[in-house]
């Protein structure tokens, strides 16, 4: 199983993602530079890490979405390869239209860093198959621009297609504006593309993959990816899951 973490100028969770992938699921993982133009052969997973790519100039993710490596990430996604965008990585995915929607400044315009409870609404994706449907998990958030937005009609379509994977919730799994940290539409914390092989989420699973650092609820993301790669690898050869 091979993975790559894209490093943009201004990425700051790239090292965390590299370490987590190497230590938790024990994946082969290497950093790729934003102006690289190819992925290593047989890459299963590409991670777009958190941070402030290109200083968040223009809009978070807007410049990174135009980096040379993104064309290759897009081809990887088109082939059915897995793409995971965390925080700024999610913003890059929406800006590059690999995922729908936009991530606007938080409701109260402030940066927020704290643990958040999330409800897992989809467990049939490559990223979440180790969770139980409706399970409540805790990942930290750390962002200033995480308010997911889509026009009402598109939002309805997103819901109808079941693309919402994570929602902010309380301990019982109930969603409610009072437990929505940033004002995201429909309390959305993470979504997949229609095909299910591209996941973007604002919370940080790599910060919840160690019992001493933010808990272990994020580990099942890596378990899911590992299980999916192994199963799909057997069934259909490399990198063509969907």
């Amino acid at each position: 199983m091979r993975s790559a973490v894209i490093v943009f100028p201004g990425s700051n969770c790239d090292r965390d993602a590299l370490r987590t992938l190497a230590e938790v699921p024990g994946m082969e993982v290497e950093p790729l530079w934003h102006d690289d133009t190819t992925l290593p052969p047989e890459t299963d997973l590409v991670v777009l890490p958190g941070g402030f790519s290109y200083g968040d100039y223009l809009r978070p993710g807007a410049l990174a979405a135009r980096a040379p490596i993104i064309a290759e990430v897009r081809r990887h996604a088109d082939r059915g390869g897995l793409v995971l965008g965390i925080c700024n990585g999610f913003q890059v995915l929406t800006e590059s239209r690999l995922l729908p929607g936009a991530l606007l400044p938080n409701r109260d315009t402030r940066f927020i860093c704290r643990p958040c409870l999330l409800r897992v609404d989809r467990t049939d994706t490559p990223f979440t198959n180790a969770y139980q449907k409706g399970q409540v998990v805790q990942f930290p958030i750390a962002h200033a621009d995480g308010r997911f937005y889509l026009p009402e009609e598109d939002l309805a379509q997103l819901e109808q297609r079941g693309q919402v994977v994570f929602r902010y919730c309380d301990v019982t799994g109930r969603v409610d504006p009072s437990v929505n940290p940033n004002g995201a539409a429909h309390h959305i914390a993470g979504i997949v593309n229609d095909r299910g092989n591209v996941l973007g989420l604002m919370p940080h699973p790599e910060r919840a993959s160690d019992p001493r650092i933010g808990g272990e609820d994020g580990k099942m993301i890596w378990d899911s990816i590992r299980a999916w790669c192994q199963n799909e690898g057997k069934r259909s050869g490399h990198g063509h899951g969907f």
């Binding site: 700051n12 200083g55 927020i112 750390a142």
Partner: protein
């Protein structure tokens, strides 16, 4: 021709000394440089003799004061570089940029040691938050700290926010940073050799922040806003690239010496390299990349444009350094050369515009022996003012009011604006007595404790200074960490008034005595004087960050870990002091009264035993008693544990405010599992130790004086009503 030395900021005496040393009159550019380099901010001319009182050596100290940051040994060939620095005056004028560039500056200090910055903390001091002006200022400062720190990817793991009317016009912003360095990659400003090239890496040089150091060395005037051009502008994106690029260059062994550009920009950084390496330097001013045309050599030399580093590189490495800088999108310009002859020379348009002995620039400002005299009301300040004790119904309200006090209440709304978790090494983030990170390379955990108690430093500077140091070390000890060293920022008003200079001197004496007693040497620090405005002076405000370590396998003893049924113990004297306490100040009493007198032997013994408790896991939870005394410590412990407690104080204690709210001296509360009580008692044998209750339920009850639900405590503390 006698130059206008006063305009440059020098006194007649200083100018005389300068001419004598030089053997001639300085030219205009040279005079400009000295005006800034001999300012208080750069030269420590008021405090150098006093700072010598601090112990600076210890078994863990690898680098003491005098470099960009101190370095202590974490083992496994790994060092921890750390320092705290002020950015007070800029933050008063332009809160967002002032605070942001304060964070950026201290990060570059750490980087200049060759260390990767791994943790930041901030000490913020504001006027009363009831004022909307103060709240706006606070908002700007907090956004600035977050805006910069979050983007560069250094976690803000803790800090302290203090409110007192004395900071209304002159807020304080003290930024702390720590970094991890492989000792075989450590660099400094002492290693430049003749023939090497001098490179300027990072942002272009502009007119921002010119003579900021001089601005920082004067009192804030009513037209402080006119100093806006002396404020630096920060770009955390450029800083992030600078960090990664410099660490890569160091990793590859491409850099011989390095220096950050902070106060007084090019002149300060480059003359320091030349002086400390015992070499000369020739800088071609025409080769410094500029943001704007028409800058004079003096302006270029003194600009405090941010996100720049000075590198000294072997000639055959220059191309490779430039190549790597380009990859990071950074400008890198060769601006000069290291020479054998110990002259510090600037050329511009083909002629020499500055020619000085390097060591004269940074090191030789004549010391000013300010007069020191105790204030006329010294005795008055020490008397604890009488107050009317609350009636039987009043104790509950007193405790709730204290929990709502801005100085004691939950500071979550501030620290949630900071990324405290990036780098995934934060074991205990903001909100507790200590912040804790792991350093995997060293197989160690590092604990930080930031403390300040300006009130006690005003009423009793010696004991207040000692108490500040002792409190930060106590917090480390309770968590089980061995102190390795500390850094401090001395924020004081003008030293030119004898009573204010006396306060400074006494505070330093007290701090030094505590450092000595607790074997916690000072490895770095910063002095910020002239913190006063027409509205008044600030309280004497030493900010201390003590740093300690635990080994990988040790479980740190933190607060809020108690379980129902655990016994609650009070360690230390039942009585502390109401002098300059939160209890009295909140009730509007005048700022008076002393803390308990400092006892070095007593403190050291407490720390030794507290570490033994933590290391042996003889308690489940521990917390030092500080602001608000025993009652507030109990309330905070219960809020963190999510349960109540039934407390019954020994019947021979006369219940009063001093028991419940007194502060100062080595004291702590512990929660101990029943089966561990015997061992715990044994560790404190010969010490005042009282079992005062048991954890459980959902209320805090203390005899017949306090009876409050945890929900009420939480609502007061968190401000949710």
């Amino acid at each position: 021709m006698v130059m206008d030395f006063k305009k440059a900021g020098l006194s007649a005496k200083e100018y005389e000394a300068l001419v004598q040393e030089l053997g001639r009159e300085p030219n205009e550019t040279e005079l400009q440089l000295f005006g800034v380099m001999w300012s208080e901010h750069c030269s420590y001319k008021s405090t150098r003799p006093l700072l010598k009182l601090f112990p600076t050596e210890g078994p863990a100290v690898l680098q003491g004061p005098g470099e960009n940051a101190g370095v202590v040994d974490l083992g496994q060939g790994i060092g921890l570089a750390f320092k705290v620095e002020s950015h007070n005056h800029p933050s008063a004028v332009e809160p967002y940029q002032g605070a942001a560039t304060g964070v950026g500056g201290i990060i570059r200090d750490i980087l200049a040691m060759g260390a990767r910055p791994v943790a930041s903390m901030d000490g913020l001091f504001f006027g009363s938050p009831e004022s909307s002006r103060v709240r706006r200022l606070r908002d700007g400062v907090v956004r600035g700290v977050g805006g910069y720190g979050n983007a560069v990817g250094v976690p803000t793991v803790g800090g302290k926010t203090v409110y007192d009317p004395s900071y209304a016009e002159n807020p304080l912003v003290n930024a702390f940073c720590a970094g991890v360095v492989s000792l075989n990659k450590m660099v400094s400003s002492q290693t430049a050799r003749p023939g090497q090239k001098v490179l300027l890496l990072g942002s272009r040089t502009g007119r921002d922040g010119i003579a900021g150091a001089a601005f920082a060395s004067a009192e804030l005037s009513e037209d402080a806003q006119s100093h806006r051009p002396q404020i630096q502008i920060g770009d955390p994106f450029a800083e992030k690239l600078l960090i990664e690029c410099c660490l890569e260059l160091l990793e590859e062994g491409l850099v011989a010496a390095m220096q950050d550009m902070g106060a007084a920009g090019v002149v300060s950084s480059s003359s320091e390299v030349a002086a400390k390496s015992g070499v000369g330097m020739v800088i071609d001013m025409d080769r410094i990349p500029l943001r704007e045309a028409g800058m004079t050599p003096g302006e270029i030399a003194l600009s405090e444009s941010q996100e720049r580093m000075l590198l000294v590189v072997d000639p055959d490495m220059v191309n490779e350094v430039e190549r790597r800088a380009r990859r990071w999108g950074l400008e890198c310009a060769p601006i000069g050369v290291i020479t054998e002859e110990r002259r510090y020379i600037y050329t511009s348009q083909g002629s020499v515009v500055v020619d000085l002995p390097p060591e004269l620039i940074g090191g030789n400002a004549p010391i000013i022996p300010w007069e020191s005299r105790p204030p006329h009301d010294e005795e008055e300040r020490k008397k604890i003012p009488p107050t009317v004790r609350p009636g039987p119904e009043g104790w509950n309200d007193e405790l709730l009011a204290l929990l709502q006090d801005p100085n004691l209440r939950c500071q979550e709304t501030i620290f949630q604006q900071y990324d405290s978790m990036v780098q995934t090494n934060t074991l205990a983030g903001p909100g507790g007595d200590v912040s804790l990170i792991r350093v995997p390379q060293a197989k160690a955990q590092v604990a930080f404790s930031m403390e300040a108690d300006p009130w006690k430093c005003f009423t009793d500077p010696f004991n207040g200074g000692a108490e500040t140091v002792a409190r930060s070390v106590r917090a480390l000890s309770v968590c089980g960490a061995t102190p390795l060293g500390l850094t401090n920022c001395l924020n004081f008003p003008s030293p030119e008034k004898p009573d204010q200079f006396w306060e400074l001197q006494e505070v330093i004496r007290g701090m030094a005595e505590a450092c000595q007693a607790l074997a916690c040497p000072v490895v770095s620090g910063n002095v910020s004087l002239y913190n006063e405005s027409p509205a008044g002076r600030i309280l004497p405000t030493p900010v201390v960050v003590a740093v300690g370590s635990l080994s990988d396998g040790d479980t740190p003893l933190l607060g809020g870990q108690g379980r129902a049924g655990d016994r609650v113990f009070l360690v230390g004297s039942p009585r502390a002091s109401l002098g300059a306490s939160r209890y009295l100040l909140r009730r509007g009493a005048p700022l008076r009264g002393t803390p308990p007198p400092f006892s070095g032997a007593w403190e050291a013994d407490f720390s030794r035993r507290a570490r033994a408790v933590a290391r042996g896991r003889h308690a489940r939870s521990g917390r030092i008693i500080s602001g608000g005394g025993l009652a507030v410590a109990l309330a905070k412990e219960l809020l963190a544990s999510g349960m109540g407690a039934l407390i019954s104080l020994p019947s021979d204690w006369k219940m009063d405010e001093e028991i419940l709210f007194g502060e100062g001296g080595p004291r702590a509360i512990y929660a101990v599992a029943s089966e561990g009580v015997a061992a715990f008692r044994q560790l404190w044998e010969g010490w005042p130790l009282d079992e005062i209750g048991v954890l459980g339920g959902s209320r805090l009850r203390v005899d017949n004086v306090l009876n409050l639900s945890c929900d009420d405590l939480a609502a007061a503390w968190k401000g949710e009503n």
